[in-house]
Point group: C2
Chain length 118, copies 2
DNA sequence: CTGTATCCAGCCGGATACTG
DNA sequence: CAGTATCCGGCTGGATACAG
């Protein structure tokens, strides 16, 4: 897709401004997930086709990279690149905002998330 | 739309995670725009129907409010609410990230933007 | 398990006409 | 000018089947 303008916000949104991409990045950066099945298991229930698509786009954008973790099977682990990790502050601000604005109804799971560490 | 999960990131994305909402908020928070025509004039060329829709959604979410600025005509000015202003840090992180990652191709206009101040 | 491919309904959004 | 309404093509994304 060609860029809509030269604004840094717009360019960023063209890359990660949809309903699923940042959720995958959350799983990678905060929940330390790395396998296809782990992303599928998140409560948002991303579909396999959307997950495949987003992993490809993120890899193409240089935000994640994949590497095989099994020698005799085609199994990949996905991990954020250095560049991908620089999105952490963005995600962190979103977490902070979300907690403030949805605190009345949000119930967090008991497990400790990486984004709890401040 | 019902919420996909109780994650603060997901809830926030359900509210502002699309290709247009944050651009409208950028215009409101950083470029001090307030009138329908001013939003339309942004380089991304948002369509009138999408703009109408996003203004409604933002108002319904309590992030902006509108007030008439002409007595004998139906003309509204839109301004961020206190709650809407709390999205500034999120937007600011996105600006910072976008500048770092698109610096090679991005050309900024000569005018001074509010998000330049840091 | 780790994905890919296909099908298809529904929504998004662009264009445009229209109202006050 | 300040929006709203309508039309409609195309993309998103869910379900499912399939492949290695």
């Amino acid at each position: 897709m060609q860029r809509r303008s030269d604004c840094p916000i717009t360019c960023t949104l063209d890359l990660i401004g949809d309903r699923w991409t940042l959720i995958v990045l959350r799983d990678l950066l905060f929940l330390n997930k790395s396998k296809f099945e782990e992303f599928l298991a998140s409560p948002e229930r991303i579909s396999t086709s959307v997950l495949t698509d987003r992993l490809h786009k993120l890899e193409k954008a240089g935000l994640i990279e994949k590497s095989p973790y099994s020698t005799h099977r085609l199994r990949m682990t996905y991990s954020p690149t250095e560049r991908g990790r620089t999105l952490t502050p963005v995600l962190h601000e979103i977490v902070k905002w979300g907690r403030r604005n949805f605190e009345d109804t949000v119930i967090f799971s008991a497990e400790q998330h990486a984004y709890d560490k401040e």
